[in-house]
């Protein structure tokens, strides 16, 4: 129990900190690694919140596959470091708006979650599978995802392919 609590809040802290690192780093590589850290911390939180299956997926798919893709592209393109923090007026405006938005959204979820039900229960991958396939409700989305991925594939190929003769 105590371990749960420590793990959870520790992970939350790490997630927040590494999240800030993501946007504070000038180098894309560093950002990417920070992001991976964030994702892993989030995975811990997922687990503590009783969604073990999702936590695993988070690490495997997200931190593993997607972020590798990112890293790969960063390496491939030999992405330069960000040229400093010259975010300019847009950045400052965004920070300003971000503060407002943070206040608002944190306030909203804080107050909103106070009235949430507390039907806590651990879920396993079987629950997820049952939820996903026991009714046609999510079947549709599941099948649609295949189209999504296919079109992403085709799209990626079409876009990134080298021009013939170039």
């Amino acid at each position: 129990m105590i371990l749960d609590v420590i793990l959870f809040y520790g992970a939350a802290f790490v997630a927040l900190a590494s999240g800030i690192f993501v946007i504070a780093q000038r180098s894309p590589i560093n950002s990417a690694f920070s992001l991976i850290v964030t994702m892993c911390s989030l995975a811990v939180m997922f687990a503590m919140l009783g969604s073990g299956f999702i936590a695993v997926l988070q690490v495997v798919v997200y931190a593993g596959a997607i972020m590798v893709l990112f890293l790969f592209v960063i390496m491939l393109l030999n992405a330069k470091q960000d040229e400093g923090d010259r975010a300019g007026g847009i950045g400052r405006a965004a920070i300003f708006l971000g503060i407002i938005l943070a206040v608002q959204s944190v306030w909203v979820v804080w107050n909103g979650s106070a009235s949430l039900p507390t039907n806590y229960k651990e879920t396993t991958s079987a629950d997820v599978a049952r939820g996903l396939f026991s009714s046609p409700r999510f079947l549709y989305a599941f099948e649609a995802t295949s189209i999504l991925i296919l079109s992403a594939m085709v799209g990626a190929i079409v876009v990134a392919r080298k021009e013939k003769g170039k």
């Binding site: 039900p117 046609p136 079947l139 189209i147 999504l148 079109s151 085709v154 799209g155 013939k164």
Partner: protein, 474 residues
């Protein structure tokens, strides 16, 4: 598990068509014409399925067939067929593998069909992303010239950004209700609470982005300008139908109970969109940017229908009618750009149309009809549609929004009329040579113009369809 596939049948047909096109292109090396014809057949078959098969099912709550979905799907499919033909007219110029292009186009149509039918947040999101991802790629085609990629990256970044908001909105609505099914969401949402409010707001942000409402519109001019014209035409027409269709459903089914909270805000957005769109178009010389701002403005008018819903189907009915007819009209207007070759080039800036009526009075007249409709001057479907939208807004108590709308229509007259001025009242330079794409493009434009004018005179049948569609959600 008993799965009733009937409501997804049209989408399935389109998916099959997409596979066939992809495979035919990849393995049989089919050319433009074959791909075009295959796509047309597929879309046509989907349309036929829509008419023939009883699609009234719900797949466990993920999607919902019926009048509303059918109306949207029908509109999308018709627009898609026209877009396929417009694209076919242009792809010959550009170095594009036609089968890839048409596959992506068909995939995005699948996404749109999903959007039009989805009654569950997950399906909705996946469908939206299917459509978007295909469109991002379409925008980047062909790879010649950095404009395309720039348009694509802009569309992609802003699109993904707003998707995140949409997703957050869904999360919050889910938090407020415990379900991702719209109808069940409505129960939780109607009790109010900060989660539901913020969820509704962010949900709206996501869709307001897709429909191009101000201030979520700034991508539109750049993307419209950067993409090739058939893609622009397809986006301007079909995306609007799908996005507004989904938005209308969500508003009617899920967050309608909260309309007291968000309707004033959306009314402001609508007014702001009309103003920004119309004023923005005023100073544009680039034709596609002009049409982009014009489409922003029209999104504003259509939002008046959302605002005018207020628990009654009239606003939705107006919205459906308008978005369908607007798509046709707009497609016709883009068709003109595709049909014309001025000194061998597609007309890019407004003055490229100078003296068109002297060279091709017929095409000029058609464009005039379309522009008149876009302005909203009778006799045209644009007028009937606006009348309908503003009527709904006024009935819901938003007379001020209607006033802004009509005044902004006057502003819009200025820039639409400028094109008419150029076509009819200015003399072309001696060396200007207009060549008209032979064959089917002028026919498509003529068809659009005829629909625009004819529906302006006799809107009854289509309006009845829209009415039935809207009523099915209430």
């Amino acid at each position: 598990m008993n799965v009733d596939l009937l409501p997804v049948l049209p989408a399935i047909v389109v998916v099959i068509a997409a596979f066939v096109v992809l495979l035919a292109g990849a393995f049989a090396g089919s050319g433009l014409r074959v791909c075009r014809n295959l796509s047309t057949v597929g879309l046509g078959a989907a349309l036929a399925v829509l008419f023939v098969a009883p699609t009234d099912g719900n797949m466990g709550g993920a999607i919902q067939g019926g009048a509303y979905s059918a109306f949207l799907q029908g509109s999308i499919l018709i627009v898609a067929i026209l877009a396929v033909w417009l694209a076919a007219a242009r792809l010959g110029d550009d170095q594009v593998q036609p089968h890839e292009f048409f596959t992506l186009l068909l995939f995005s149509v699948v996404g749109m069909l999903g959007l039009a039918t989805a009654t569950e947040a997950i399906s909705l999101f996946v469908a939206l992303e299917t459509m978007s991802v295909a469109l991002y790629a379409l925008c980047a085609m062909p790879r010649t010239g950095p404009q395309r990629q720039e348009a694509a990256i802009k569309y992609f970044i802003t699109g993904a950004f707003s998707s995140a908001f949409l997703l957050f909105g869904i999360a919050l609505l889910y938090g407020a209700s415990g379900s991702t099914t719209l109808a069940i969401m409505a129960r939780g949402v109607s009790q109010g609470g900060p989660l539901a409010l913020m969820g509704a707001a962010f949900f709206l942000v996501g869709f307001l982005f897709k429909v191009g409402a101000a201030p979520f519109h700034m991508w539109a001019p750049d993307v419209y300008q950067g993409a090739i014209t058939p893609v622009t035409a397809f986006m301007a027409a079909a995306v609007k139908i799908a996005a507004f269709g989904a938005l209308g459903r969500v508003v009617a089914v899920a967050i309608g109970g909260l309309s007291d909270s968000w309707a004033p805000g959306v009314a402001l957005v609508a007014a702001f969109t009309m103003v920004v769109g119309n004023l923005g178009a005023l100073a544009q010389s680039d034709l596609k940017r002009l049409l982009a701002f014009s489409s922003v403005a029209h999104a504003g008018y259509m939002l008046a229908g959302i605002v005018g819903m207020d628990g009654r189907p009239e606003g939705l009915e107006a919205l459906l009618f308008y978005v369908a007819t607007y798509a046709i009209t707009n497609l016709g207007a883009f068709g003109i750009l595709i049909a014309i070759r001025r000194n061998g080039q597609e007309p890019a800036i407004a003055t490229d149309l100078t003296g068109l009526s002297r060279r091709d009075p017929g095409l000029a007249a058609l464009l005039t009809v379309l522009l008149i409709s876009l302005t909203g001057v009778p006799v045209s479907v644009g007028f009937v549609g606006k009348f309908h939208l503003f009527k709904a807004a006024v009935a819901a108590g938003y007379s001020g929004l209607a006033a802004v709308g009509v005044l902004m229509s006057v502003v819009s007259a200025f820039y639409y009329l400028r094109l008419v001025v150029l076509m009819y009242m200015e003399e072309p330079e001696k060396s200007t040579e207009f060549r008209i794409e032979p064959g089917f493009v002028p026919t498509i434009v003529a068809l659009a113009a005829a629909l625009t004018f004819g529906l302006g005179l006799f809107p009854g049948p289509l309006m009845a369809l829209a009415r039935a569609a809207a009523a099915s959600l209430f």
